[in-house]
Amino acid sequence: MRRRLLATLAAATLLATGCSATEGSGTDAGAPIQGGSLTWAVETEPITFNPHQYAQAKARLLVWNSFEALLTHDDKGGYLPWLATAWTASPDGLAYTFTLRGGVTFHDGERFTAAAVKANLDQLLVPGYAPTVAATQLKNYAGADVVNDTTLVVRLKQPDAPILDFFSSPQGAQVSPKSFGSPDLKAGGPSVVGTGPFILDRYTKGQEVHYRKNPVYDWAPENAGHQGTAYLDEVTYRFLKESAVRVGALTSGQVDVVEGVPATEQELLAGDPELSFTKQLNSGTAYSYYFNQTHAPFDDERVRRAFRDAVDLDAVLNGVYRGTATRAWSIVSPASPFYDATLAKSYGNNPSGANALLDQAGWSQKDGDGFRTRDGKRLTVRIVLSAPFVRDRRDVLAQAVQAAVKQSAGIDLQVRIVDQGTANDAIAKGEFELFDNSRADTDAGAALSLILPKGAPINRHGYTTPELETLVAQGAATTDPAKRKEIYTRVQRILADNATLLPLYAPADQIAARRTVGGLRFEPTAGVPGSAYNVWVNR
């Protein structure tokens, strides 16, 4: 166990320097075996099984079992063919021509053709069906022309490089046009089908979803691990919301794989010779506290810096996550190709500096409880956590930070854990000085355009400059990965200089499994558990 822990720490150190993001222990599953069934306990029951309606990163591992997109991400920030074998952009960037794979069928027997892709695009624009997709990912979509069965031209109103990200995202997955007539279309389920390696044939709300093998499947992308049909005959995903119950079900052999293993349970699993454990950092943004700059006290950069420096974050994370968390130094997750590693150790754990900054900012008196005051007013800052979104012991983390800033700098951090309605209300009224957020987008750039531009949905910190706006827009419009890295590096440095946020840790997904299970993997780029396509079990 100790050795495993050391290995974890070593891997975490590697990660901090920006290397590969997967770690874990091996399996005894041997060579792939056809057949068999597998039970997989997952934390989150999806709100919907219709990929067009997808909104939960934790539900992503189910999507690609039964649905597929035109393209898929490789592990270098580019794209690979999937249901489309080739694509070209016109020189003006206003038209994309997709060559589609022939011989693909939906689970209901319908053929996958250019007309089906067009029908999917049309459906996404039906008012009220997928307003989010229509307003963001397809905002520049002008129309599509079916040239022949395997050729489709997508026309855009203006150049939009992330359109390729859409065609590789769950929302861009292809649903059989026949399913659009289903009364359960928005909820998804057995009557809403795709082309994937598994067929969703049974869903028991509150309990489980069951897939069986698609016997004619033969169109996996080249990075899927193998070709042809899936190895497993059947796979059942059971919804077990309590991590202790998931882990107990795994150790007692009632399930083969579990997803979502919090730090407190990881030590328990690490000592079991029959189990394997892997974890991967999510791409997207780090879990961070953003400072609300629209009013005092965080409108003063010195106070923001003081808060950031007051916390000995390594000690806090170690206490809360027992050495399993990877510290973040930037808004962008260390797993993202855009992460700026030079920011590591550029600030933090400097209580004397923090106290000097607060003295300068006028918060120089102390009251009876040891908190700093200015003009008789205590240095109180509030953070509101929405209980349904509290996971990963983030409530405990908030309390640890609370204790740290009180002790080292006399800052009164008030942590409130409330229902979602109350949280939304507090945010709408601006009754907070800090807010927490992390995004599991496959492309960190997509997350940044939700957080940084003026008026963006998560721009609750209130910081924006023309330069930042331009950079974020450029990053979204550029396809060259090297150029984008340059742009996003600049963005990260601006945010670090401004002390816009206190990055805490890089969110990760974990899989634990019996050693007889092979082929488990994480999705490239997204960093979330992959589908069951390449999984086999050696009983």
Partner: protein, 308 residues
Amino acid sequence: MTAVLKRLGGSVLVLWAAATAAYLALRLSPGDTVDTLVGDGPDTPQIRAAIIADLGLDKPAVVQYLTYLWRLLHGDLGRSYVLQRPVVDVIGGQVWPTVKLTLLASAFCVVIALGLAVLTAGRGRWLRGFVSGVELTVVSAPAFLIGILLLSLFSFRLGWFPVSGDRDAAALVLPALSLALPLGGLLSQVLREGLERALEEPFALTARARGLTSYAVVARHALRHALLPTVTLAGTLIGFMLSAAVVVERVFGRPGLGEVATEAVGNKDIPVVLAVVMLAAAVYVALSTLADLAYLLIDPRLRKEAAA
């Protein structure tokens, strides 16, 4: 006849009041359904307008409320805002697993309460004290903890029962036990109290004088006296199980109304919440009617009064 009509009218009134109270509570509580649906995703006025129009939330609250009642009168419970399916479908599949759970839990509850109370009423001080102490511990322990402890021992360690789901009878035992233990403990306390009071009555002494064993006195005579308050309490407690089921369903990964209701309240999914509230209210009404009937069965004096 008038009594039956009165009862029926009263029940409809209770259902209407429950639905209205729940509706008002949801409208008045902070937050907005649209906020919930938008979540942390992209958020523009167009997206909001599209969602609002799609759900019919653009009409005044009174109109929405009246429309809801009107549809309810026609047996239409509406569509879930979040799950995008008819409420009947959402709730329909969840009723039977919860009913099953509640029934078995009630049965366990009765066995625990009767067994413990009859065995320990008026018995030696230390036995009674010990059992009563255990009961109090179980009553005060959170259902979550009881569930996890039962799972750790009987499922993870001994492997006697499966951890989750609504499969067979074996999968029902642990969840039902987690529900029944605290309620059984509580009922047993009430029942023992009633038994002991009845045993101090002169008729108990008379029965003993006729040569009955102490257990026979408890079973044939004292029990009837002690049952009245217990049945009153049981009627309420079985309804209370619906809320306790929330935790148990979550721990055991079971389908059921509890989980659906919690999620719906969190998401402000008003149609689903109202349907669950109405269902719960209907169950309460039915249970209190049953309890009233049970009084007549238990206590002959009430039968005469009712007839008079």
